[in-house]
């Protein structure tokens, strides 16, 4: 018997960025064939550590041993050749190339001077077959879902016979069903003897899939434990360094409140059909469904950001016409997009400029010119209210953590004094403390009689926050769940049309 051999040994890994230490003498040994979880809050050093292992960053100090031999990993290509593959958080796929072309990108097979396309197709097909991925190798990547793109990334790593496969927060953009598919795949890989490092800040996932888990905090190693010795509670405590129990605030009962928003038969192209729902004043309404079910599209159509051919909208009982986002803002609607970096904050703007972007004309003009003092004063207020952490309010948003960017984004919409706020995946990619702050914030809004729609793929979030949940499936409304009906099982059933096994 005995312990399996150590495959990858990190000893005293230290990384400094211009003399600031982001990793401090971290020691981790990873055994051959295990799934090692790597968990920590944003900024704990998880990404830095795996980037060192995959050759993207260079360690300042420390030793890496691969299969017992001291190894230097000066760049990404070396890592590839050593059999270290990474499935990145943001995919490095080229949209207009096909699946097999992406799988072989950078390691193409040749026949003489020319590409051997048929061999690549065949081998890609075989690889996908081995991994039991139902994908057509000739399909363009742009036509794939997020989960399928991830499969391509995995196949891309596996085609090089990766011995160690690193998953960098792979589940962030996946729905519950897709996460299950990913885990099945990881089990298969494990049976093939692949060693995996699974980076996440989702406690439950780590406990489900990993054998052992490494906890990092502030660049330091906190612990390495067998998963069996841990609970979500104890793991959370290790991660944040203090007790962390009550994540969700108490629910708000919106019984007997008037309807503030009524949407009827909303339709947009082939994406949305017959969407009807209503929202009570001061309610936190959930929108659940798989990625691509049309939740974001519904909200965009409602906000006038997407053309809606059909449907009527009433706000506080009065019919309204919303042709563009400006109309929506004028009617008191606000929309926090799921794509914070792509559609949310202006990265090269500072805090005041970001916050005043929508309310500029209404609030900050004096004789036609921007009153920068008023802008600054408003920013100070929001920085305090949302506990935004920044070196200075004049620093650009691109230097902020995800959580702080999200808070600035929220502040911008709060500054428009909305009566209805739509939050689309508001906690995606942010750390657990910021998450809790955002939950509390949504709760406070509801208490102030501001109605919220929470669109989320995170089951716990929907169940924890909402009293009433609409579930969408393939561009249609699949159903509405209330109170004790709001369970994971019911949501999955409505979202997929099949009972959970």
């Amino acid at each position: 018997m005995g312990e399996p051999a150590i495959l990858l040994e990190l000893e005293g890994i230290t990384k400094e960025f211009s003399s600031v230490r982001v990793l401090d003498r971290v020691c981790v040994s990873i055994r051959a064939g295990e799934i090692m979880g790597l968990i920590g809050e944003n900024g704990a050093g998880k990404s830095t550590l795996i980037k060192i292992v995959s050759g993207i960053y260079q360690k300042t100090d420390g030793i890496i041993r691969l299969a017992g031999k001291v190894t230097d990993i000066p760049d990404y290509i070396t890592a590839k050749n050593l059999g270290i593959g990474i499935v990145p958080q943001e995919f490095n796929l080229i949209n207009y190339l096909t699946v097999y072309e992406n799988i072989f990108l950078g390691s193409e097979l040749h026949k003489g001077l020319l590409l051997d396309k048929s061999a690549m197709r065949e081998e890609a097909q075989e690889q996908l077959h081995l991994l039991k991925m139902p994908l057509d190798v000739n399909k363009a990547v742009s036509e794939l879902s997020v989960a399928e793109k991830q499969m391509v990334e995995i196949a891309k790593a596996m085609i090089l016979d990766a011995r160690i496969l690193i998953f960098d927060e792979p589940t962030t953009t996946l729905t519950a069903v897709e996460v299950q598919t990913l885990f099945d795949l990881m089990h298969k890989l494990k049976q093939k003897g692949v060693t995996m490092i699974f980076v996440s800040h989702k406690l439950q996932e780590i406990l489900t899939i990993c054998d052992r888990v490494t906890v990092l905090r502030d660049g330091k190693l906190v612990s390495i434990d067998q998963v069996g010795d841990l609970t979500t509670q104890s793991l959370a405590k290790k991660m944040v360094g203090r007790d962390f129990n009550q994540v969700f605030p108490s629910k708000i009962d919106s019984k007997g409140k008037p309807k503030i928003l009524e949407v009827e038969d909303l339709g947009s192209g082939t994406l949305l059909k017959d969407i009807s729902f209503h929202l009570f004043k001061g309610e936190i309404l959930g929108f659940a469904g798989l990625v691509g079910a049309g939740r974001t599209e519904t909200m965009e159509a409602l906000m006038g950001l997407r053309k809606a051919e059909k449907g009527s909208v009433r706000i506080a009982g009065k019919p309204v016409r919303i042709r563009n986002a400006k109309d929506a803002v004028a009617h008191g609607l606000g929309y926090i997009s799921e794509d914070r970096q792509g559609k949310g904050v202006v990265m090269n703007y500072d805090i005041p400029k970001n916050i005043s972007l929508i309310s500029l004309k209404e609030k900050y003009l004096r004789r036609g010119l921007i009153d920068k003092r008023a802008e600054d004063a408003a920013s100070e207020h929001y920085i305090k209210e949302f506990k935004i952490v920044a070196a200075s309010k004049k620093s650009q948003l691109r230097y902020f953590s995800g959580g702080n960017q999200q808070k600035v984004y929220l502040a911008r919409w709060m500054d428009t004094d909305p009566s209805i706020l739509i939050l689309d995946e508001p906690t995606r990619g942010i750390d657990i403390n910021s998450k809790k702050e955002i939950y509390d914030f949504i709760h406070r809004l509801a208490e102030q009689q501001i109605s919220c729609i929470l669109v989320s793929s995170e089951m716990e979030e929907i169940i924890g926050m909402c009293d009433r949940v609409y579930v969408m499936r393939e561009g249609r409304m699949a159903g509405c769940l209330e109170k004790e009906q709001v369970t994971e099982e019911n949501i999955v059933f409505q979202a997929t049309g099949v009972k959970k096994v």
């Binding site: 960025f17 211009s18 900024g43 950001l305 794509d339 559609k343 972007l357 004309k361 010119l369």
Partner: protein, 323 residues
Amino acid sequence: MGEHTIVSYFRKFRFKDHSLGMAFIILLVIATIVGWPNFLKIRNLTNILRQISYTGIISLGMTLIIISGGIDLSVGSMTAFVGGISIFFLNLFGPTSPVGIVLTFLFALVLGSVCGALNGLMVSKFKMAPFIVTLGTMSIFRSLIQYFSNAGTILSENMDYGLLGSSMFLGLPIPVWFFVMVGIALHIILNHTSFGRYLCATGSNEQVAKYSAINVSIVKFLPYVITGFTVGITAIMWSSRLNCINPSDCSGYEMDAIAAAVIGGTLMSGGKGSIIGTMMGAVMLGIINNMLVMGGISAFLQQAVKGFVIIVAVLLQYNNGNK
């Protein structure tokens, strides 16, 4: 980690903020040495300012276009076109009509704005690539003015028209005054109005702007109109200086206008730029030219030096953005 990058950013920002000013001063010192003693003579300095003001005025509008994420290659041909048509218009009035001159000035501003609006419409409404659109209109304007003039010089018949372009006011040539006034106006528009704010936001990330209830079409349209307006001013300044327009005049203006903006720190990828920077960039280009002339370097090499300076400026931008 986050805090550190912020600190280092501020260090870098300060250096970068001053780097243009430092380059300006160093250039001034070198020019003084190379061109001693003539460089520092008032007459030479006002001459430099006059020379750069023609493309300088246009570069101010161009700065807004580049910030919006676009480009305008047609400004040179447009200047010749607007200038030529304006002289035709001027010649409708008598040879000594001051009213004619005033009306012609207004006419040029309107015509320039309309030409710019044409570019803007195709970019914002029809969502065409600015490079392609203005490459097309560049040919169109040039070809039209050559056709209308029968490829000959268009002469002004107004006796007083030439005064406008060659006179001085408070010791500075008239075009320089326009350069400064347009500069101040656009600086205020860029930094102190909602339009300026929306412009940078749109150039930085169009999606974010759209999702922030900003009318992106108008924001992308207006810079072209403003640039057309600046073209109108330059067309009058240039044609009144010579009292005529040659249909092949003003080619290469787009190069100088883009160069001034880039040297002044405007990002070619959009989202960020400064009018003051562009004004300094334009003056620096003028000093470099003047210096080469005084240093006895072949006029043929001047374009090469200009090209070199642009590449270095973009290289500096690129490196700063990547750190």
